[in-house]
């Protein structure tokens, strides 16, 4: 009945400041009230909300900004929120490049950079630094071949971040293939997950198709 909770939800959920007209338009469907009347009711509710949140017991507020209304943290709390933002430990975020290289190392360790590049079909040396930096991989001696290239393996940190006890806990290719090959049932109502697939496809396209035997 009351407009207050509705308007509060709208303003909270809106990504950009939302105007009184927009709010009234949204409410029109639910209420049967006349538009002018609805608008004045909405304005009254908003004023009430603003007053409510301005109380000292609130850390957030409702403000009129850029012609619309929006919710935000109060300026007094900005230092706190800023320090919170800083304290956030982001999840492992790796570029697809880095993730690919990490996967190859995890499954083929110990392995040299030329070997990784060969499997991936693109030069891997750039990403290695990132992975070393994040302590996800480390060196593991040198391979006993010409040039004695450095071998790489995954670290304890890697196990920790991926929730593994040891590397053997990684699903084997066979296990995984079985899972995937059987996933063609209609477990999902169709037409989703497209974006990801599309992304994969483009990467693949740009990286495959290299001329392989040219230098041999």
């Amino acid at each position: 009945m009351s407009l207050k909770p509705k308007i509060e939800a709208i303003i909270y959920a809106a990504e950009t400041p939302i105007t009184l007209d927009q709010i009234a338009a949204l409410l029109k469907d639910s209420a049967g009230t006349e538009e002018a009347e609805l608008k004045s009711q909405a304005r009254a509710a908003i004023d009430e909300l603003i007053a409510d949140y301005s109380s000292e017991s609130h850390g957030i507020e409702l403000r009129q900004i850029a012609g619309g209304y929006r919710m935000s943290t109060k300026p007094e709390q900005h230092d706190l929120v800023r320090s919170f933002a800083k304290s956030l430990k982001p999840p492992i975020r790796l570029s697809l490049q880095a993730l690919e290289t990490l996967a190859v190392i995890a499954y083929k360790q110990p392995i040299t950079v030329p070997e990784i590049s060969e499997i991936r079909g693109v030069d891997a040396s750039g990403v290695i630094a990132t992975l070393l930096d994040r302590k996800l991989i480390t060196t593991s001696g040198r391979k006993d071949v010409i040039g004695r290239p450095i071998l790489y393996k995954t670290t304890k940190e890697f196990l920790l971040r991926f929730g593994l006890k040891d590397v053997n806990e990684l699903p084997s290719m066979e296990e995984f293939e079985k899972l995937v090959s059987e996933s063609f049932q209609s477990d999902l109502i169709p037409a989703e997950s497209q974006p990801q697939e599309a992304a994969n496809a483009t990467v693949e396209q740009s990286e495959s198709g290299q001329v392989e035997t040219k230098t041999a």
């Binding site: 993730l99 190859v104 071949v145």
Partner: protein, 288 residues
Amino acid sequence: MPEHAKIAHDFPSAPAASASAGTPTGAKREANDFPFSVAVSSVYEGPLDLLLDLVRKQDIDIYNIPIAKITAQYLAYVEKLRELDVNVAAEFIYMTAVLIHIKSKMLLPRDPAAASEEQGDPRAELVNRLIEHEKFKSAAQMLMQKQQIEDAVRSNPAIREFIGAEGTEPEIAADVIDLVKTFQQVLERARSRPMIQVDEETVTVSQMIEYLRRRLSLEDRPLRLKEFLRNVQSRQALVCMFLAMLELVRLQAIQLRQDRLFGEILVRKHDGFDAIMLEQTAVKDDWK
């Protein structure tokens, strides 16, 4: 279809009648009075679903299932399923065996010497499985409701304004599954990579050896010879591939195996594969 539907509709009145008849012919007729449409086979996700449905639709006490009757109905259903689709899921067939086993156990006279508690009801295990299954079906409904409620809710974090714009390059948060998937994609890509330049006329034996080296270094398992030949189109490339294989066999870098006449030929790395291939890169001019 409409016929089946009609039978299903009429069915509720049937049990009482046939039960009172109680003759062998009555029992038989009942087994044939198959209550459900076969065309809806996809409705039953598995044997437990089918059994539960048989129990429910006929108002049978789940703790006291007339096993002979249910088995007959179940068999009739699976039989019809097989008429429609020879590849009836193994699970359905397996359950048939379970039912018949229970039925035969029920027919055995009870051992008067044994204490009554020791002779458990042969149906007990099946009933427990059915109930367990039904419990999880209810749980699934509960999850669906919870999910719908959660979908209806929106959270609008304000933190973005406080986080610096650093690290704006598109990144992926990853878990173990991403790792496997990614590795599989890498392998997939490596395998499907065009192995020879478009200009197949100029392919050499040494290029083929290099390709084999690359391809085999990805694998720990033996590979089918067919796989290697799949992408080789021109005659010259085929000849080079053949010579390359022979050379690698001679060097004992790879092994070829054929288990039976005209069988699949498998290619696998020999113990010294890595070492031999490395030596060869130094002297590969020999192959030209």
